[in-house]
Structures are given as structure tokens and as C-alpha cells.
């Protein structure tokens, strides 16, 4: 009886409970609750509650939900089981948004695709999406110079394009957006360049509000991106935005942060020698003077017969103290919800940053408004979004300044001797700090430069899309998608005029008047993108699935710029195009291109373990010659899930094993207007300054220095890759490895030709660049208990590039150069190597290889022709490490970035050497020394006789020349190792208990301490700059290095996220 009763009771046993999200304790609707080993199951309701009848045999409940770790609970005698489910990053990645915005299960993919979810992305509150990915995915090199609003460089699987365009294509919800990098090359146009008046206003991909992003998927290989064709040759970043859910209540989320920003790295100065060159001189801008002795000395100008005086001693933290603590404030509100047929999400965000430069001349603010919606009426679906972004950036210039635009801040700070406190110059009303009396006539007051010589961008941008879908019949859908992206940027740019009083300290010292400059620049961009698709998915047999897409795309991009500037400002401080006696220089550029495509895609699946994908595309480009502008390419990839194919593989240890292979080819077109030769207006560069026609009222046209090419072909990239994805021990160990081999052929560049041919360059198809590499991601969950979890992941990227060929007999292609440093593509070497003037060495005999010095000065002689390779910009490898610890509501996450290998050019070092502030210049305590391993050349006694060599005994005495650019041999020293280890992010978060927050009608609240770029370690030789710092934009040229770039920043502060 009792036994029967017991059985009956057991049969009728009902278990109830609530399933919540462990991170915020909010109820989870739709969670599957299953009695283990049976078919008995139910699902949680809208608030996360469930009730289940457990059969007699049932002992355990299994709770499972997409995106959360499947969790089991023993029932025992319990009648109520409440459970918090932990999110599972690995599982979230299982659905991947692929080309054309099509979501596919990750296991069906035959190529590597890396995803990052919103939580990982925003944990440290980066100001832009791509910065939030730094260190978190393999195969992608992300860096940023760090100034407020500056651009982010994203290079996928290595650079391969000589002339730029190495950034990926950004696609938001299936529609490509513009990613123009606003700098002075493409906004402010003519006459300005990166080494003199560089400014980086950021790239447009940075406009996206990170809080709007649901996930980011990076498609790397040619097979993955073939459907995007021409524009995806350097990979695709697919951004999916957050949407409202159908049948959901209105949810409001606020997220905000405040962080303080401090300068991360400033040049380390020597502390032994003070002002002078080489004797003490109150007028000098360098530290080539006598030993610092602490004795009170007068320095700089006399005003009313009186000079300032101070002890002749080293000023600690002089450079660091110049900078201030800036801030970064972010606020974001998202309101989302949905009814039966429509859902929506509206968000507003603002981001304001004031960098570490004193005053608010380096300021960035961005306001994002975004509306996103979905409608669903039976066979008809639609998806739409529109975003408006207003961006304001104020910036100061990097580089060394120009004659009319005046000085730049960093250039001037570096030229202050180590014994002079920089802060002394802050008060611009102090007569000693005014131009006439500034202590040196060879530089300007940096505070004056930052106050007067600056620039500002204002950009209004709207982008959005409308997508309509109609299910023609079951399994087949027609989709029409139109996207638009419109931006309107305005830049003003000012440089103060300086007139030195006759007879003043500055004038007598040799200062030239600065005429001053003011310019205004506008740029309008437009992109239209339209697609029509037919999409089908069928289960042909229970075992075979077949999907396909055919479609077409039309893409048009246009921009125009108008730039006008005047020099020679009549009235100081009035920045207007009217304020000149001269003639404004104006230039306008119109640029338009279009691309049309037809494409098809076929997906085949067999028994859910073998998948095959085939993509085909044909492009018609406006920028290639007529008759040669159509090109076809394709990609194929396959994935075999061995662990599903042979179920016996699946053991307690091995949970998943997949192998994949892909092959793809993509084409790329030219920039507009390269096919024909033209005759532009004559503008002659003099090296310093220009002669622009008209002169004397006579205008001129000159034949363009570039010869067009009527036989241009598209650039073709071919790539194959192999990969392995495996998970062990219930997915607590995961490893994903890819090997790829990519060759980019027939790049379209303006290739140099000898000028005696009448041209400097010719539009050509040149070269064959190989990029081969390994990407790996290892993820571990070393500890996992109910309350505590430790997650660790590391990713590894190794890309080896090689220039296989150029064109004709050319062995070298000059990418760009700075002073005597050439940045080149050389056959047989990685793309992007440095060449500097080579030392003359003894060609043969017992002294062979020794350096030949100048017999008078003892300085290494430089070969008049030969140049020497001194490194490459390419890293040996890049690794990222992420660590996550979760203890109940508390979590700690940290990301570390490690870059090994590669070099960069540092003008900051060059200038520090020049003025004797760098530590290197104290070599041998500034006593004369004989160059190691060197010889003197004894000329032949008779013409044609034998040249002999003897051991060098001539010491170098003029050290202030030796260490600077005055000796061309020194350019070796200005190429630094780029290695670094960066503590990229540290986030300590606490989820407030639901019991607490629910009292104030909140459904969740998280408070975090956040830090970004907290620590930087570099080799001892680089005690100058953050190796990521650059003022050369965000493409291949930026890999070159820096030219008095502004310092990068570290941020730390607090963030808050609440949900109602």
C-alpha cells in the first residue's frame, strides 16, 4: 500500500520554479525544461516560470536555452527548483551572420569566421566598435593611435595593397557603409602632408554606437567574402544591431561610463646634460650643453633688461606634467519592445572625450540616434533602420608644422632642454612666453601652438536601410534591400600669424614671421546600395538540404570636396577667408564610381554533418576600361563535422570535431579616373613651397605625371584555407585553427617609372603579394562550479607576407619615404620593409666588412647609392589573452595584447636625438669615441692605384652632429622595434542582486570598474612612443610609424548599466 501510494505520488510529482539569467537575475522566457532520459518537457513562460510533471523514473531536470550553458539539476525531493543560467559565449557564436546578412549555423561553415558578442565588445566601454575587439580575435590586427576621435586600423590577414584600401568592408545589417578616414589627405587636400600638419579625425566605421551592436562577425578569407566581391578583398566586418523582440514588453536600458584619460607614454629624456649646443647658450633649443650642476643660471630673453633665472638641473616628469587628465563620458539609452507584428528599438548615445592635451583643443563628441524596426505580416516581412550621427572633433596637428600654418605642439615640446620646466610657458600673457621673447629662436611656445594652431571637424551623417521580403512560396523568399549612407563634413583649420618685432630677441635670433593660415573644407559623401535576392531553402530528402540565392547588386559611391585656404592673415586672431591680402587657393574634386554585380550562392547539406557552399559572382565596374570591366570569380568551401559523421567519435572527452576547407577568388577594381591621362592645372612643388599657375595673370595646364592605362585589368586575389574546430570535455576546452595562403595579383597602382620617360608614374597592374598565416584560438574553462567560473582564451595570429614579384625588372616599389628612410615593397621580402643609407664598408681583404669612416670627423661614411634593409613593419606574431572570472554576481575580465617583431620609424626619436634630449645621446658620457669596428681609407698614391685601409683612430668629437640627422648614417637609429605588451582592458563588474534592484522597478543593474590601455611594455630601445602611435592614418602608410605623433592614452573609471 505504502509502496503503491508512493508510486502514485511520484507519478504525480510536479516541480515548479523560475529560470533566470545568472548575470542579471531576469526571468528567461522560452527555456526548455526536460526530464532527463524522457520525452517529458515544457518551456518557461514570459516571466521565466515553469511547472513540470515529472514521471516516476525522472531524477534530473535539464534546462537548455540558446546562448546559455545547458544545466542539469538533480530533483531529489525538491518541489521547487529555481535556477540561474549562465551565458555561454561559445554557443552564442553558433549562429553566424555571413555574407549578404544571411545567418548560418557556425558548424556549417567551411571557413574561419570570428564572432564577438555585445557583452565582450562593450565591457570596457570602448568609444568605437573595433577597439572593443582588440586582442579578442585571431587573424585581425587592430590598433589605434588613441587620440580622441582618431581612426582605428583593422587589418585582416596582413596588408596586401600598396596604395591603401587595406581596411575591411564594413557591413551593417546586410548593407555596406562608408569607412572614409577623415584626415588632411582626403579632406583638407592640397599642399598639406602627414609629416607637417597631420590630423586624424577618425574613420567612419567608428561612428557606430557600440551599445547598438548585437554581434560582430569577421569574415576573413576570399571564399567567405566572394559574395561581396570587389570591395571585400581585405575581409568583411559584419555588424548586426540589436533588435526589439516580437511580443515583448517595453524594455529600457541605460548604460553609461566615466573614465579619466591620462597620457600613456612620453619620451624618456636624459638627465645629465642641459641647455646649450655644445656650449651653454640661453637661446638654444637643445640639451647639448654642459653637465647639469644645479647652479642658478639666467636663460632665455631679457625683458626690460632682466632675464629669468633658474637652477641648471633636470626637471623630473617634465613632459608628462605638460599633459592633463582628460575624460571620456558615455551615455546610452535603448528603448525596445514589440507587439504581435512589429518590433522596434530606439537608441540614443552620446560620447564625449577630452584628451590629455591641456585645454579642450583635443575633444571628441559624438551623438548617435538610431531607430531599428522589424515588421512581420505573414508572408511579408520588413526590416529597416536609420541612424543619424553627429560628430564633432577638435584636434591639434601632429608632424613638424608648416611655414604658414605655424608650429605643432609635440614638435615644440620636444625642443625644450631638459632643465627648463615646460609649465613655465603656460601663461601666454607673460612677456617671457610671447613670441618675441620665447627662450629660443629655433622653436615656438608649445602652449601657443596648441592654443592657436588647431582644427575642427563637424560631420553629419545619416545611414540606413529598408529591406522588404516576401515569401513567394514555401521555402523561397524574394528580398529587396536598399541602403544609403550620406555624410556631410566640414573642417576648419587655423594657424596663427606671428609678427616678430624688429630687434626683438626672437627676430634677432633668426625667427621668420609666420604669415598665418585659415582654411575651410567640405566633403560630401554618398553611397547607395541596392540588392534584389531570391533565397530558397529546401529539405530535398530528410538527409539532404539545399539552399540557394541568386541576386544582383548595384552600388554607387560619390563624393565631392571643396577646399579653400588663405595664407597671410591681416588681422591676427580673425580666422576668416576674407582676412587676407592674398589670393585664396581653392580646389574642388568630384569623384564617382559604380559597381554592378550578379551573383549566386548554393548551400548543400548532408545529414547535418557534411556541408558544401559555392558562391559565384560577376562584377561590372565603372572604373575599369570599357570592354575590360567585367570579371567573374567564385569561391567554394566545405565543412565536415566528423564528430557527427561518426557518432562513435563523441566520447566524454571529445564533444565536437570539424574539419573545413575553402578556396576562393575575388576581384577588385581600380580607383576612378585612372584609365585616361589628363591635363591638370599646373602646380609646381619646390620641396618647400610651391609655384601655382596662374602667375602674372597667365594660367597653365600640365600633362599629368601619371599616364593612364587603357588595358587595365581587375586585381585578383586567390586564397585557400584549411581549418579545424574541436571542443573537448563538454566544450570546456576548444581549439580552432586555420591556415591560409593568399595571393594578390595585378594590383592597380600608379607604378613609378623613370621621369625621363615624361611621366613619374603609370597606372599599371603590378605585383604578386603572398600572405600566408596561421590563426588559432584556444579557449579553456579551467574552473566551473555553480558559483565560480574561470574562462580563459588566447588567440594567435601569424601572418607572413612576401612580395613575390612587382613589374618588369623592378625589384622595389616605394610605398613612401621620410627623410632618408624608404618604406618599400621589395621582391623576396615581406611587404613593407625599411631601407636606409648603407654604411660604406671595405669590400675585400682582411678588413672586409668594416665600416669606413670619414678620416677627418671619424663618422661612418654613407654609400652614395646603396641602401640597407633594416627591418619590416610586419610582426612575427600577435597574441591576445582574455581571462574572465565570475563569482556569483561578480566578474573580472582582463585582456592582454602582445605583439612580437616588426619595426617602425620614429621621428620623435629623431628629433629627441637632434636636440640631445634622448638617453642615447649620453653614450660614452658625451666624450669623444671611436666608432666600433671601423677603418680609415687611405687613397691610392697614384691614380688607379690600390686603396688601402687602416684601423680607425679618429674619434667622433662633434657629438651633437653625430647623433642627429646631420649624419645620414644615423637613420639606422631611428627605426625602432615595434614589440609591445599591452594590458588592454580590465573590467571588474558587479551585478546587483535582483531582490535589491526590483525594489526600484529595475530588472537588472551592473556596476563596473573599467580600465583601458592600463600598462604598456616595450623593449628598452623604445623609450619614446607607444608603438601604436601614428599620424599616418589607418592604412598601409600608417604602418610606417610616426612623425611627432600625439601620445596615446590610458583610461580608467567606472561604468553603470541598468535595465528597466
Amino acid at each position: 500500500m505504502s509502496a503503491l501510494l508512493q508510486e502514485a505520488m511520484a507519478q504525480n510529482r510536479t516541480v515548479t520554479g523560475r529560470v533566470t539569467d545568472a548575470t542579471n537575475n531576469e526571468g528567461l522566457p522560452g527555456v526548455t525544461v526536460l526530464v532527463k532520459g524522457t520525452q517529458v518537457g515544457t518551456a518557461t513562460d514570459a516571466t521565466g516560470n515553469y511547472s513540470i510533471n515529472v514521471p516516476e523514473t525522472g531524477t534530473t531536470l535539464v534546462f537548455s536555452f540558446v546562448g546559455y550553458t545547458t544545466t542539469e539539476r538533480v530533483i531529489g525531493n525538491a518541489t521547487t527548483i529555481n535556477i540561474g543560467l549562465a551565458t555561454d559565449a561559445k554557443q552564442l557564436g553558433e549562429v553566424v551572420v555571413t555574407a549578404l546578412g544571411i545567418a548560418r549555423e557556425e558548424k556549417t561553415l567551411g571557413y574561419a569566421a570570428s564572432s564577438v558578442n555585445s557583452e565582450e565588445l562593450t565591457q570596457a566601454k570602448p568609444t568605437n566598435v573595433m577597439s572593443g575587439i582588440q586582442g579578442k580575435v585571431a587573424g585581425v590586427n587592430i590598433s589605434s593611435s588613441g587620440a580622441p576621435g582618431a581612426s582605428t586600423k583593422v587589418i585582416i590577414r596582413g596588408v596586401s595593397s600598396f596604395t591603401g584600401g587595406n581596411n575591411p568592408l564594413y557591413v551593417v545589417d546586410g548593407v555596406p557603409i562608408n569607412n572614409i578616414n577623415y584626415n588632411n589627405a582626403n579632406i583638407t587636400g592640397g599642399g598639406l602632408n602627414q609629416s607637417s600638419r597631420a590630423v586624424d579625425f577618425g574613420n567612419q566605421a567608428n561612428d557606430i554606437n557600440p551599445e547598438d551592436v548585437e554581434s560582430v562577425t569577421i569574415l576573413k578569407g576570399a571564399s567567405a567574402t566572394a559574395l561581396y566581391g570587389s570591395r571585400a578583398a581585405h575581409g568583411v566586418v559584419m555588424i548586426t544591431t540589436k533588435r526589439g523582440k516580437l511580443n515583448d514588453r517595453i524594455r529600457v536600458t541605460y548604460s553609461g561610463s566615466y573614465t579619466a584619460s591620462k597620457v600613456l607614454r612620453v619620451p624618456q629624456t636624459q638627465n645629465v646634460f642641459g641647455q646649450g649646443w655644445p656650449d651653454f647658450d640661453r637661446l638654444e633649443n637643445g640639451s647639448w650643453g654642459p653637465k647639469l650642476d644645479g647652479v642658478e643660471r639666467e636663460w632665455g630673453a631679457e625683458v626690460n633688461g632682466e632675464a629669468r633665472s633658474k637652477p641648471f638641473s633636470y626637471v623630473e616628469n617634465n613632459l608628462r606634467n605638460f599633459f592633463e587628465t582628460g575624460y571620456d563620458v558615455q551615455n546610452s539609452v535603448t528603448v525596445s519592445g514589440g507587439g504581435q507584428n512589429n518590433s522596434f528599438a530606439f537608441s540614443y548615445a552620446n560620447t564625449t572625450q577630452d584628451g590629455s592635451i591641456p585645454t579642450n583643443v583635443d575633444k571628441f563628441s559624438r551623438n548617435n540616434f538610431s531607430f531599428r524596426g522589424n515588421s512581420n505580416y505573414g508572408k511579408f516581412t520588413s526590416d529597416y533602420n536609420i541612424s543619424y550621427i553627429r560628430r564633432d572633433v577638435s584636434a591639434i596637428f601632429a608632424g613638424q608644422g608648416t611655414a604658414s600654418g605655424g608650429a605643432t605642439t609635440m614638435q615644440e615640446i620636444i625642443q625644450i632642454p631638459v632643465d627648463i620646466p615646460i609649465s613655465q610657458f603656460k601663461d601666454l600673457n607673460n612677456p617671457y612666453n610671447q613670441p618675441d621673447n620665447y627662450f629660443t629662436a629655433y622653436a615656438e611656445n608649445p602652449y601657443s601652438a596648441l592654443a592657436n594652431n588647431n582644427t575642427a571637424l563637424q560631420d553629419d551623417r545619416v545611414f540606413g536601410k529598408l529591406e522588404l521580403g516576401y515569401e513567394l512560396f514555401k521555402g523561397t523568399k524574394a528580398i529587396a534591400r536598399a541602403g544609403g549612407d550620406f555624410a556631410n563634413a566640414f573642417v576648419s583649420d587655423q594657424g596663427a600669424s606671428i609678427i616678430y618685432s624688429p630687434g626683438s630677441y626672437g627676430k634677432v635670433g633668426g625667427q621668420t614671421d609666420v604669415p598665418g593660415q585659415y582654411g575651410e573644407f567640405t566633403r560630401r559623401d554618398q553611397q547607395l546600395d541596392m540588392s534584389l535576392l531570391l533565397q530558397s531553402n529546401y529539405n530535398v530528402t530528410p538527409d539532404i538540404t539545399l539552399g540557394g540565392i541568386v541576386g544582383g547588386n548595384y552600388n554607387s559611391r560619390k563624393y565631392n570636396t571643396v577646399s579653400t585656404y588663405v595664407t597671410g592673415l591681416n588681422v591676427p586672431g580673425w580666422y576668416s577667408l576674407q582676412n587676407t591680402s592674398g589670393v585664396p587657393v581653392s580646389e574642388s574634386i568630384r569623384n564617382e564610381r559604380a559597381l554592378m554585380a550578379a551573383f549566386g550562392n548554393l548551400d548543400f547539406g548532408f545529414k547535418d554533418y557534411w556541408f558544401l557552399n559555392l558562391s559565384l559572382r560577376n562584377d561590372w565596374s565603372s572604373t575599369l576600361p570599357k570592354g575590360n570591366n567585367s570579371y567573374f570569380y567564385w569561391g567554394a568551401n566545405t565543412a565536415l563535422v566528423l564528430s557527427d559523421m561518426f557518432p562513435s567519435f563523441q566520447t566524454e572527452k571529445l564533444s565536437f570535431l570539424k574539419v573545413r576547407a575553402a578556396w576562393g577568388k575575388t576581384g577588385n577594381d581600380a580607383a576612378p579616373y585612372l584609365v585616361n591621362s589628363t591635363f591638370p592645372a599646373t602646380q609646381i612643388s619646390l620641396g618647400f613651397g610651391n609655384v601655382y599657375l596662374p602667375v602674372g595673370g597667365v594660367a597653365g595646364q600640365t600633362q599629368s605625371n601619371n599616364q593612364g592605362n587603357q588595358n587595365l585589368r581587375p586585381e585578383i586575389t586567390r586564397e585557400w584555407e584549411l581549418g579545424l574546430d574541436t571542443r573537448w570535455f563538454n566544450s570546456r576546452v576548444g581549439l580552432d585553427v586555420s591556415y591560409y595562403n593568399r595571393q594578390t595579383k595585378d594590383q592597380i597602382v600608379s607604378a613609378s617609372v623613370a621621369p625621363e620617360t615624361g611621366y613619374q608614374t603609370q597606372t599599371r597592374n603590378i605585383g604578386n603579394i603572398a600572405n600566408r598565416g596561421i590563426e588559432a584560438r584556444l579557449s579553456l574553462i579551467p574552473v566551473k562550479t555553480d558559483n565560480f567560473q574561470w574562462e580563459f582564451a588566447t588567440n594567435f595570429t601569424r601572418n607572413k607576407s612576401e612580395v613575390l614579384s612587382l613589374y618588369g625588372d623592378a625589384k622595389e616599389f616605394l610605398l613612401t619615404n621620410v627623410y632618408s628612410v624608404d618604406y618599400v615593397a621589395e621582391v623576396g621580402k615581406p611587404l613593407g620593409t625599411f631601407k636606409v643609407p648603407a654604411f660604406r664598408t671595405v669590400p675585400s681583404g682582411p678588413m672586409a666588412g668594416k665600416i669606413i669612416v670619414n678620416s677627418t670627423t671619424g663618422v661612418e661614411q654613407v654609400d652614395p647609392v646603396l641602401r640597407e634593409s633594416v627591418g619590416t613593419v610586419n610582426p612575427d606574431f600577435i597574441m591576445g589573452f582574455t581571462n574572465g572570472f565570475t563569482f556569483k554576481g561578480l566578474s573580472l575580465n582582463a585582456t592582454v595584447d602582445w605583439r612580437k617583431g616588426g619595426q617602425f620609424y620614429s621621428y620623435t626619436k629623431q628629433l629627441n636625438n637632434f636636440v640631445g634630449n634622448s638617453t642615447e645621446t649620453t653614450y660614452n658620457y658625451r666624450q669623444p669615441f671611436v666608432v666600433e669596428n671601423s677603418v680609415k681609407e687611405i687613397p691610392a698614391a697614384t691614380p688607379g692605384g690600390e686603396v688601402t685601409y687602416v684601423e680607425n683612430d679618429v674619434p667622433v668629437t662633434t657629438l651633437y652632429n653625430y647623433w642627429s640627422t646631420a649624419t645620414p648614417a644615423r637613420f639606422h637609429n631611428f627605426i625602432l622595434d615595434r614589440d609591445y605588451v599591452k594590458l588592454r582592458e580590465v573590467v571588474l563588474s558587479y551585478n546587483l542582486p535582483i531582490s535589491l534592484v526590483s525594489r526600484v522597478k529595475m530588472s537588472g543593474a551592473t556596476i563596473s570598474l573599467i580600465g583601458r590601455n592600463l600598462l604598456l611594455f616595450t623593449p628598452a630601445t623604445n623609450n619614446f612612443v607607444d608603438p601604436e602611435a601614428t599620424n599616418y592614418g589607418n592604412d598601409i602608410t600608417s604602418e610606417l610609424g610616426e612623425f611627432a605623433a600625439l601620445p596615446s592614452m590610458r583610461n580608467y573609471g567606472v561604468s553603470l548599466r541598468v535595465t528597466f
Partner: protein, 489 residues
């Protein structure tokens, strides 16, 4: 039914995207730049490219290497030039801008003029081209004068040796001269001709004067031809071949002034060289204030630096004189004074010298060199005057006197030509003692104490630029910049 619907949709999609493929390349004609240019716009461009480099970089080289100016000790811009440290990578823009800029535009002018029979443009462009070739030829030693400027036919033009190239240049000049009659009857080019404002007769005079200059490179072989030119005397006797359209406005000024004075962060780099200043002071030459600024410390004092001694320290900027340049300085290609100097030189050096004719032309040349600056040479040329012609000296002494005056006449105008003349004649002489030595003869070159060259050497040429060597396998092997050319002394 289903299948039809599917196929119909498919076809619609495909058709709509392939139908307009035909015209898509039409938007690829640049709206920013024209596909062609009229001679009226190309000729001034060709002339200005030439003026920008010859009157800019080459004038700078010339004024330092001819020891008119030297690098200031408290700045560093031109140190490498003043220590003769010029490598293949330096100053490539001279080569680039003269070939791909000036010569290319002039060639298109000539081609278009031939097709449309605009002989006035043809003559101007051909003479201007010949002049550019002459300058390049004498600075570099060989030039691709025949196969150059034809990327369509060859990417690697072969170089023609200096002497042979001279013959080709003379052929061009003869061709231009032969078109005089046809060109004169056509409408004037007017202001688009920066050099002679459309005066064809002056272009012909320029052509003949340049011919004279080139023939003088080998006087012994060309004596009859030179005599014929001088006898005909259709030369630049009263008019200069110069570009005098510059104004004191940014981007519109004399190229050396624009880069050195307006655009460098300091304009104190070029200082008076003691070589020239001491010579002028020794002769009380009134051109000192025309060539130099007084010292900042004392407005009545002119003081120089020894050539290339830029490491002298401490010596304040206030103690030395800067070079005086003006935004409106013309760029000289050839001058009337130069022609008279050439004639004087010929009369001295010809097989049977004619001292009277030499004196007449010498006096004429020096007078022109003074009057250019509004000054009178009369007291200097009068008997017993500092520059009076030494008609009783040896041939070499007379030649030295002519070239010394030509050297001074070239200051602030044709310094680059003074460099060629020193190579050609050996004057001014190179001193074996420093300027401070009692035995120093004012005006003699001193060698930069910071020279990177072997002892006693001076630069004689420019190295073939890297930009050419990198892309043209036919560019000659590099020569040391001290290597003399066949016409050098």
C-alpha cells in the same frame, strides 16, 4: 506554376542587373581634369617648370657651390650641400620636374604645334627644351635626349654622352632658327610666353646665344662656327632670356625666395660667403648691399662666414650677413651680360686673339652686370679702375679676369652657370690657404672644412638620381660627384 513563378523572378533579377552594364564606364571620365590642353596653357607651364627648378634648386646648388653663399652656422638646412654630401637620393625633384614636368609639356606643345602649324609655339617650345637639355646635360654628364619623353615606346631610354647630346641640342636650335620666318607671320603668343612675350626674334636670339655657349665648350673645334655666330651678331645683346613675372605673394614668387625665405621655418640659412664678400670688399664693389644684408648687430657692417664652416661656434646670427633675395627676382636663363662675357672670352681664346674686341665686350659685359642693379661700372672699368681690362696680360690672366667678373655677375641670377664656368675654366681658382691667411687671395674658392670629399676635391656634377636609376636599367653607372667631364678643366 510554382516553377514558372520562380523562373520568372529569377530572370527579372538577372536582366535588371545586366541590362545597364554597357554604359557604366561613362562616369569614369574625370570631371576634375581635362583630357587635353591648348598650347596657350601648356607653354607657360613648360617654361615655369623650367624656371622653378633652374631658378630654384639649381640656383641654390650654384650659389653654395660657386661660393656666393654659405650655410649659416646656427641652422642646418643646406649643410649637406655645403659639405658636398649629395647622394643619388637627394634633390631628385630637379630631374623629375625638368623631365616629367617642363620637357614633357614642351614636347606636347611641339607636337601639337607641328600638327596645327603653330610655328610660333614650336619655336618657343623647342628653344626652351634645348635650354633644359643643355642644363641637364652639363650637370649630369649624359642625358636620354633621344629616347626620353616617350613612355609609349620605351620605359628605359638610353643615355647620350655629353658631347653627342650637345650636337643634338644644336640640331634642335638650328631647327628652331629655321622656323623663324614662318613663326613671325603668325599671331603673337603674347603673355603666355613668359620669357619674351611672344617676340619670336628674341627666341631666335636666345637660340643663337645658347648655341654660342654650347659651342664654346669645345672652342678649338668650333672656332669657325663661333666666329660666324658672333659676326652675324643676332644674339641676346640687349635683352635677357628671363622669367620676370613673379610677385610678392604666396605660390607666385621667385622659386628660391619662395622656398628659402617664405616657406622654411627660418630664413637665415644662406649667409654671405667670405669667398665672394672678401672679393667684393677688396674691390669696394657697390654690389655688396645688392647681394647681402648688413649684419643685424650693425647696419653698416657686412660680414661673412668661411665657406662651409658651419660648425664654427659660438658665432651669433647677428654677426653675419644674410643673402639678399627678393620675391620678385627674375629667373635668368641667359643674360645679355653673359653673352658679352662669352664674346670677350672668345676673342681672348681664339687662335689669333683680338684684345680690342675682347676689351670692348668685357667692358660691355661688366657694365651690363652693374646696370642690372642700377649701378655704374664706369669708375671700375676706367684705366686704373679695380676691374679695368688687363689687355697686356697673358691669355690666361685675361680669361681669369673675364670669368671672375662673370662669376660676380652671376650672383643672385645665374649662380648655377658660375658653377659650370668654374668646372669649365678653373676660375675662380681654388685657394690652398684659408681666408684668414695673409696669403689668401680674395675671390679664390676655399674648400669646406666639413667636406665629405677627398682632400682638395670639389663637386663637378650631380649624381644620376635614384628615381632614374631605380626604374631605368640604361641609366649610367654612378660616377663620383668629383669626376670631371670632357669639357672640364
Amino acid at each position: 506554376m510554382k516553377r514558372n513563378k520562380f523562373l520568372a523572378s529569377l530572370l527579372l533579377v538577372l536582366f535588371s542587373f545586366t541590362a545597364c552594364e554597357e554604359d557604366i564606364t561613362e562616369i569614369n571620365d574625370s570631371p576634375n581634369n581635362l583630357p587635353a590642353a591648348d598650347n596657350k596653357l601648356l607653354l607657360p607651364s613648360g617654361i615655369m617648370w623650367s624656371a622653378a627648378k633652374i631658378g630654384g634648386d639649381l640656383e641654390l646648388f650654384g650659389s653654395l657651390w660657386s661660393q656666393h653663399y654659405t650655410q649659416n652656422n646656427n641652422s642646418s638646412q643646406y649643410r649637406s650641400l655645403d659639405q658636398y654630401n649629395v647622394t643619388a637620393a637627394d634633390y631628385n625633384a630637379i630631374w623629375t620636374n625638368l623631365w616629367a614636368g617642363g620637357l614633357k609639356d614642351l614636347k606636347v606643345v611641339q607636337q601639337q604645334a607641328t600638327a596645327t602649324e603653330q610655328w610660333q609655339y614650336y619655336v618657343a617650345a623647342e628653344v626652351m627644351s634645348a635650354f633644359n637639355y643643355h642644363v641637364l646635360n652639363d650637370f649630369y654628364g649624359a642625358i636620354p635626349i633621344q629616347e626620353g619623353l616617350s613612355l609609349e615606346t620605351t620605359e628605359t631610354p638610353t643615355f647620350v654622352e655629353n658631347k653627342e647630346a650637345n650636337a643634338i641640342i644644336i640640331g634642335m636650335l638650328d631647327d628652331a632658327i629655321s622656323k623663324q620666318a614662318q613663326a613671325t607671320t603668325l599671331p603673337s603668343i603674347g603673355a603666355a610666353d613668359y620669357v619674351f612675350q611672344g617676340n619670336i626674334a628674341n627666341w631666335v636670339k636666345f637660340a643663337k646665344s645658347l648655341k654660342l655657349k654650347i659651342l664654346m665648350r669645345d672652342l678649338a673645334a668650333n672656332q669657325a662656327a663661333i666666329q660666324a655666330l658672333i659676326t652675324e651678331n643676332d644674339l641676346l645683346n640687349t635683352v635677357d632670356a628671363k622669367v620676370a613675372v613673379f610677385t610678392d605673394a604666396e605660390n607666385k614668387s621667385n622659386p628660391l625666395y619662395e622656398q628659402n625665405n617664405r616657406k622654411l621655418n627660418t630664413s637665415i640659412n644662406l649667409r654671405a660667403s667670405n669667398t665672394l664678400l672678401k672679393y667684393l670688399q677688396a674691390n669696394n664693389d657697390p654690389r655688396i648691399p645688392v647681394f647681402f644684408e648688413p649684419t643685424a648687430a650693425n647696419a653698416s657692417v657686412y660680414s661673412g662666414l668661411d665657406q662651409g664652416n658651419f660648425l664654427i661656434n659660438p658665432l651669433p646670427n647677428t654677426a653675419t650677413s644674410g643673402a639678399r633675395l627678393s620675391a620678385t627676382d627674375p629667373v635668368y636663363f641667359m643674360s645679355a651680360a653673359e653673352v658679352s662675357f662669352l664674346k670677350a672670352e672668345f676673342y681672348v681664346r681664339k687662335t689669333s686673339p683680338d684684345m680690342m674686341a675682347a676689351k670692348t665686350n668685357y667692358d660691355d659685359a661688366v657694365t651690363k652686370a652693374f646696370t642690372r642693379w642700377g649701378l655704374s661700372a664706369t669708375p671700375f672699368l676706367a684705366a686704373g679702375g679695380k676691374y679695368a681690362f688687363n689687355a697686356t696680360g697673358t691669355q690666361e690672366q685675361m680669361l681669369e679676369q673675364i670669368i671672375m667678373q662673370k662669376w660676380v655677375a652671376a650672383v643672385r641670377s645665374q649662380a648655377w652657370d658660375a658653377f659650370l664656368d668654374q668646372n669649365r675654366t678653373g676660375y675662380p681658382r681654388v685657394s690652398s690657404v684659408p681666408t684668414t691667411d695673409a696669403a689668401y687671395v680674395p675671390g679664390q674658392y676655399t674648400i669646406s672644412p666639413n667636406s665629405v670629399l677627398a682632400a682638395g676635391q670639389l663637386p663637378r656634377r650631380l649624381p644620376y638620381p635614384k628615381i632614374s636609376r631605380d626604374y631605368n636599367a640604361n641609366t649610367p653607372a654612378p660616377e663620383a660627384i668629383t669626376t670631371k667631364m670632357w669639357w672640364h678643366k
